[in-house]
C-alpha cells in the first residue's frame, strides 16, 4: 500500500506518519510526507497512491482545490483538518473520513479501519462525484446519476441525460462512498433504487432490472434477494 501524507506542520506530519506505520505495519509499502499542494499534485500524477491523508489548510492555501482533484482519483482520501466546519463539505465531495484536529491514535485508527475493512462510512453526505475530463475536474451531482457500471479499475457513471463519465475509482470504492439509495445489483452494476421500474425474470431464471428509462440491467443471482428486500420490505 502506498500512502501519501500532505501536511505542512512538521510535528503533526511526524505524528501521522508514525501512527500510520504502526497501524499498517508491513502492508504499508511506502509512506510519503509532502508539505504543499503542488508537491502533492505532482506526486499523485507520477506515482500510484492507495490512500491520501490531507490537511485542508496548507500554508494559507485552499485545500478544496486539491480535494476536488483528489476525490476524482482512484485512491481514497482522508481529511485531517483543524476546521470541523469543513467536514460537511468534505463529505459532500466524497472523502472516506474526516479526522478533526487534535486527534489521537484511536480516532486515526478508526479512519484506517474503513480503508481496510471496506466498511461503509457512517455519514454519507456525498453530493458530488468528481470526474476528470480533458484534465479538468468536473463535479457531477449524484442526483443526476442513474447507475454506475464497473469497468475494470474504473467505473462508468451513467446520468439521466444519458451522458456517461469515467471515474477513476473502482466500483467497490464508490459503493463505499455512495449513500444507501445506490445498491449493488450485480458485480458490475451499482444502481439507484428509485430508478427501477420493475424486476423481470427471464428464462434460465435470469433476473433483469427494468429502469424508468427503459434500459435493462442484469441483476446478480446473489444480489437478487437483498434487492427484493430493499424494494418490497
Amino acid at each position: 500500500m502506498n500512502i501519501l501524507v500532505i501536511e505542512d506542520e512538521l510535528r503533526i506530519a511526524k505524528r501521522i506518519v508514525r501512527m500510520t506505520k504502526e497501524f499498517f505495519l508491513n502492508t504499508a509499502e511506502q509512506i510519503t510526507h509532502l508539505e504543499s499542494l503542488d508537491q502533492g499534485l505532482e506526486y499523485v500524477q507520477n506515482n500510484t497512491v492507495d490512500l491520501v491523508l490531507l490537511d485542508l489548510n496548507l500554508n494559507g492555501e485552499n485545500g478544496f482545490d486539491l480535494l476536488k482533484e483528489a476525490v476524482s482519483q482512484s485512491f481514497h482520501t482522508i481529511i485531517i483538518s483543524a476546521y470541523k466546519e469543513q467536514a460537511l463539505q468534505a463529505f459532500e465531495f466524497g472523502v472516506l473520513d474526516f479526522v478533526p484536529k487534535p486527534f489521537n491514535q484511536e480516532r486515526l485508527y478508526k479512519a484506517f479501519d474503513r480503508v481496510l475493512n471496506k466498511e461503509d462510512i457512517a455519514t454519507k453526505n456525498i453530493k458530488f462525484l468528481a470526474v476528470k475530463k480533458r484534465g479538468e475536474v468536473r463535479l457531477i451531482d449524484i442526483d443526476n446519476v442513474v447507475y454506475i457500471k464497473g469497468a475494470g479499475m474504473y467505473s462508468e457513471l451513467v446520468l439521466n441525460t444519458s451522458a456517461t463519465f469515467l471515474h477513476d475509482k473502482s466500483l467497490e470504492k464508490l459503493e463505499q462512498l455512495l449513500p444507501e439509495t445506490f445498491i449493488r445489483i450485480h458485480k458490475s452494476y451499482l444502481l439507484k433504487i428509485s430508478e427501477i421500474r420493475a424486476i423481470k425474470v427471464s428464462s434460465g431464471s435470469k433476473y433483469m432490472a427494468e429502469l424508468k428509462n427503459n434500459e435493462l440491467l442484469p441483476v446478480g443471482r446473489t444480489k437478487y434477494k437483498s434487492l427484493k428486500e430493499r424494494m418490497f420490505g
Partner: protein, 559 residues
Amino acid sequence: MLLYRLIKKLGVVLFVMILLWSCEDDYIIQTPEVKYKTGDAITWRSKNIDDSGWSLYRGNTKDSIFWARATIDILEKPKPFIPQGMLIYGFGAYEVYWDETLIGSNGTPGNELEKIGEIDRSFIIPDSLAKKGTHLLALRMSQKYHPEKQRGLGFVVGDYKNIIQAPVVLTAITYIFAGAFLLTALYFFILYFNNRRFFPVLLFSICSFLFSLLIIIEYIKFYIPIHYSDFYVRLEIIGALTFIIAFIIPIYFSIQFSIPKRKLIATIYFFLLLFLFFYYRGEYDFTTQVLILCMWFVSIAMAITAMVQKREHAFIVLSTLLINVIFYYYFEYDIGLILSFTILLLCMFYILAQQIKKQREVYEYSLVETSRLKNELLKKKIQPHFLMNTLTSLIDWVEESPRKGVYFIEALAEEFDLLNQIEDKKLIPISQEIQLCKSFLNIMKYRKEITYSWHEEAIEETQTIPPAIIHTLIENGITHCIPDTNNTISFQLVQETSSRHRRYFLRTIAGIRKPNKATEDGTGNKYVKARLTESYGQKWDFSSQKHPQGWENIITIYV
C-alpha cells in the same frame, strides 16, 4: 433623519408664508402728487384755495414750517360702523387735516426739540368724512432733522383695524422664522463648540443668527415707534447685516465645494463688497440690493465651478440660487429678501445636514472598524488553524517528550498572556510587540521544528505601533517561506529614523514557497493596513515585496 424632517417642516411653513404674502391685496399704498409750500397759514388747509403755484419739491426747509397738500381716494364705500383710517408714511412732525378738519398729529411741527412721533402713524378718519370719493389731505409739517432729505409721502386708506393689524400679522409670521433661525444658530453654535470643529458649521450658525437679527430689525418698525430722526439708524443696521451675510454665504459655499484659491477669492470679494458698500453709501435699500446681487453672482459662479468639478450637492445649490434670483425679483423688496435668504439658508442647512450625517457614518464605521480589528487580533489565537494545530503538536510533544511538552505549554502561556495585555489597545510599545513576536516564534519552533532566529537593529523601544502588525507579517513569513539548508528562517527588524518619519524594515531571510505567485493582499496585509489607518489616518506607508534574501516588508510612519 431628524434634520430632514425639520427641513420638510420649514418648507411647509415657507409655502404658507408665500400664500399669506400673496393674499395681501387690500393693503394698497397710495402715492398721490404732493404739493409743497414753505410758510404757515391755517387757510392752506382749505379745499378752495388755489395751490397751482405750489411746488412739487419741498426743498430744504431747515426748521421752518411748510405745508403739503394731496388728494386721497376712498375707492369703496365704507361699510357702516367700520371705522376708517389712514396710515401715513411721513418724514417729519405734522398735523393732519382731512377735508379741512384736524384729525390728528404726529409730534408738534415747528417745535421738535422733544422727539415725539413716529415714522409710520395711523389716524382714524371721522365717520362723517369717510365717504367714497376724493378727499383733500393737508399736512402742516416741519422737518428739523435731516432737513435736506427728500422723502416722499405715502398713504394707506381703508379699514382702520386692518391698517393697524396687517403689519403685525406679517411681523408675527416672519418672526416665526426669526425664532427658527435663532434656534438653528444656537444649535449649530453649540454643536461647533462641543464636538465638531468644522468651520462651515460655525459659518452657518453665524449666518442663521445674522439672518434672524435682520428679520427682527427689518420689522421692528411695526411695533416699536421710531422717530423719523432715527430712521436711518435702522437702515444702517440692515445694511451692515446684509453686508456680513453677503460676505459669509459665498465663503460657506467656497469651503463646502473646496473651491481652489478660495482665500484669495474671499479677500478680493471682501474688498469688492466694501467698495460697493461705501460707493453707494446713503442709498440704503439700493446698496443692500447691490450687495445681494453681488452675493448671488459670486455664489452662482462657485456653484457652477463646483458643478464642473462634479462636487456633491452642487446641482442642488445652483438650482436653489437660480430659483432665489427669480423669487427676489418677483416679490417686493423686503419679502423677496427674506424669502430668498430663507431658501438659501435651508439649502445651506441641507448640505450641512448631509455632511453631518456622513461624518456620523464615518465615525460609526470607525467604531465598528476598531472593534472588528480587536476581534481579528483575538481571533488570531483562537482560530482553529492556530489553536488546533498547536494542540495537536502539543499532544504529540507530551506523548513523546513530556519535558519539551512543558516548555511548549509555557511558550503558549506567554503568548496568551501578552495577547491579553494588548488586546484592547490601539497602540503598544514596540518592545511589547517584539516580545509577542518572539514568543510566537517560540511556539512555531515546537510546531514546525524549524529554527527561527530573530535580529533587531536600532529599535527605539519607547516608540509605539499598532498591536500585532509585525506579528502578522511574521505569520505571513512563516506561511510563505521555506527554511534554508540549515533548517532556519531568520527575521530581521531594522528601524530607520529621520526628522520626517520612522521606518521599520522587516526582512524574512529564507526561500519563498511560491516565488512566481502574484502577490495580492491577504487578510494579514489588510489587517496591517487597517491598523495603520486606525492610528495614523493617511500618514503611513506599507509595502511588501521580494528581496534578494527573501521577503521585505516596509512600514513607514510619518511624523
